[in-house]
Point group: C2
Chain length 561, copies 2
Amino acid sequence: MAAKPRRGDNPGELVFTALGGIGEIGMNLYLYGLGPEHQRRWLMVDLGITFPGEQEPGVDVVLPDPTFIAERRGDLDGILLTHAHEDHFGAVVDLWPRLQAPIYATPFTAALLRAKLAERPGLDLPIREIALGSRLQIGAFDVELVTVAHSIPEPNAVVIRTPLGLIVHTADWKIDADPITGAPTDEKKLRALGEEGVAVMICDSTNALREGVSPSEQAVGASIAEVIKSAKGRVAVTTFASNIARIRSVADAARAAGRELVIVGRAMHRMIEAAKETGYLPQGFRYHDQDAFSHFDRRQVLALCTGSQGEPRAALARIAAREHPAVSLGAGDLVIFSSRTIPGNEKSVGRLLNGLADQGIQTITDADRLVHVTGHPRRGELKQIYEWCRPQTLIPMHGEPRHLEEHARYGRSLGIPNVVRMRNGDIVRLLPGPPELVDKAPVGRLFRDGSLIVPDEDGPVRLRRKLAFVGLVAVSVVLERNGEIAADPEVALDGIPFETASGMAMEDKVLDAVEGALESIPRARRKDPALVRDAISRAARSAVNEAWGKRPICKVLVTVL
Amino acid sequence: MAAKPRRGDNPGELVFTALGGIGEIGMNLYLYGLGPEHQRRWLMVDLGITFPGEQEPGVDVVLPDPTFIAERRGDLDGILLTHAHEDHFGAVVDLWPRLQAPIYATPFTAALLRAKLAERPGLDLPIREIALGSRLQIGAFDVELVTVAHSIPEPNAVVIRTPLGLIVHTADWKIDADPITGAPTDEKKLRALGEEGVAVMICDSTNALREGVSPSEQAVGASIAEVIKSAKGRVAVTTFASNIARIRSVADAARAAGRELVIVGRAMHRMIEAAKETGYLPQGFRYHDQDAFSHFDRRQVLALCTGSQGEPRAALARIAAREHPAVSLGAGDLVIFSSRTIPGNEKSVGRLLNGLADQGIQTITDADRLVHVTGHPRRGELKQIYEWCRPQTLIPMHGEPRHLEEHARYGRSLGIPNVVRMRNGDIVRLLPGPPELVDKAPVGRLFRDGSLIVPDEDGPVRLRRKLAFVGLVAVSVVLERNGEIAADPEVALDGIPFETASGMAMEDKVLDAVEGALESIPRARRKDPALVRDAISRAARSAVNEAWGKRPICKVLVTVL
């Protein structure tokens, strides 16, 4: 079953690296390189983003720095997307111009990618739609998809067959006998791969700390239906818009409880349309737009909303703040969080729960009832897939270090012969085995900051972080060519306390210091603007520091007449 | 048992408000007002801080705005501190100058307050040390302390007896038959108060969402001892420095396992000294300083560290980053998090766990074993205290809205006749009953920002938050008195991408726009600096927006020769 080497090919070796996704959850970008080093071909699996945190003010999304593969883009045979979660395909639109390779995706993923492209006029991507479970050649790579279960339609594991051996790259998966949308994880094919011989398995670590197996999507649906059935007032449910199975469960539960389904939030509409287009929701899937909400009796309506993470501009946050134009809830109503709180969002979700509680609205989260389930394998599921596939080597991916380390420990405890602990940027020779670290690829992060892509290292975001801590003083100094002071300096402060402890205006204090410093420079030396800038900056920062205990950024503008 | 009204006193009414602590966890500041409105006397209970989040860059601590009581400070009889957690006494040093009232505290709390004062030369506070369980008159207020259990030595509930009735203010508490330091919650006195008649109970809501009763400190100690006993390498334990009972348990566990105790972190040293001074640790409590750590065999050492919240400068974060001067851990060693992650700190604690995992260091948290317990009452404990005290009225305090609302619901379900839902700033007449909202006090937050106390509203921190999102452009323009342009403008950018999408320097783009705008103003109108500033600012911000999609802050410095 191994791929036939092309004429004249030297199978060389198969190497693997991650520019994102090993050592973090989010921003997945994996690379397989096949052939001898001087004629190596590359396959990219996934190209995702992650979301910024408090350390990245003003940033919309965080992207993996693709420099390593962008420098080799002539050797990149394709970009294969396993599924349509943002952390797996969210960077395609921003980074494809640097890569220019064909993109392979199954129909639902392709539909969502096209929907994104519609918002970027002028960018046209070569999307090759491929069938679930199909086997195809992507340049040098003999690739096969394996259907798995996850929390979005069409999650795929990837098999790469090389003359040197066979790799299984699981991407995001779980075992679910009844995932509602799509087929269950393809046990038969995974067992057959075990028979064929799996050299290396590169596997999802997200839930490696959790014992047992995750409940099925079907069980969650049943539990949500029960909760909704016993609700007495209005009901709102928030979930991840891409979880079409969950949307279907909620719609069914609404119908069973005699409630009309109202969809609130743009992302939810977009996803539902993509799901109808690709058959994951029936063409006749009926729902109302948000404007209908207020027309229904409180016991006959259910709103399905975006905003489970407390995003301030999403539907639910606006409902909680009583600022939503169409939907309002009140005492005795119920909000079901059919979601988990993504780490880092605890405070914004807390604000949301508090806003709802303030209005006497009851909330149910996955801490109270089975209203959400993970899309990633717990230890019981990991054990199962290793029994099916019997890999010679395991590489834990898709996890923070603590998940990777625990996954590695667990893999060893299950008797997997080689377990490789690697991190983003490590280039590991997978085959011929045993695996070995052979090189390092540069890794880093880029930010989408406004409409531009900027670097993390030495970029504007770090400067803004500094501004956020210390503020800024701008000073203007006007000198004659001979060094005479032509006018009084001007200063402007931003983000600095307005007064000192004694009540003096901080601006006056800075101005005094600047004037003093300027006058104390001998006239002849004032002919050197760099020296002036430096002396003024030191004086201004010291003056603020004396009053405030912090040294601001200082920009000195020197004009020589 | 009611307090004797002083001659000529009109008992008037008893009112209650919170300037912090009702609607949030942290920043507790409660006020009781007794007497008719025109001659009302005030008692403050607690004066705490909270810690800043991502919305408050550069802020050290967040303080309640005391304006309401500061304006009445002549009528403030005293400040009673229930215990020495920062959210209950952390604002005393910063805010006392605005209040100037005597401070009442039990010995351990007083010792820690004196330790803080030692770091603020020139500030001398009138601290009145009072005994545990004592009854005393604070101005118009007949006050009695009731010993409770919590996660620090000397937690006190407060009884206020007035001619109108009796109030129990629980502060932070739990029921613990064996709290290790100090006596258990004083059931006998609480039952006696029930007999005497409790008009109003103002009670801790932190764990009102959690069923059951919390385990005892003793059980946690035993579990920690077991974990330490079976450890094979070096062991580090991190906990809150003020949890002296826990420190004692860890010290005992170390001794039992044949390990030497090493204390790492300044806060831990300071707390241990205060505990020895006040008898909560024996005078002979022996430990090593951090420099000893490396001298001991890996199986014979235990480091007790600060930094359980991932604080970057605390001991544990520096150990995880391999930057600690005295303590290093490695593969096979163990770190026990005898702590909980305070909401908002999930990311920094995650970084810490990941940093340790990266080095092959095992971690145990309260998700894995009973190595920490809350200091607040769960529902079973709330039920218990209401059975003991049988209050006529319950006011849930110390909680976010969702905790307060659930506590209110639970109180009603237990048959408490009146349950009052109030928030910070609501002034509620407690007695004569039934309770009623009678007025509003202004509330807000102050920040310790560097060495200054600044307001939240209209203060520098909001300006810096804006800077963090959009950056800043500074422009200098030099004009003759007649409006002629005397020199080319100068610009400086900070926190803005360096290049446009087409590769042009952003600074050049701004300079072009500024020059164009300046020239387009008729010379006569350039005599108006406000007009010039406005036109230049609009031009600079538009130019950046065109290239970046964001409008920066702009400071225009106009010099007229």
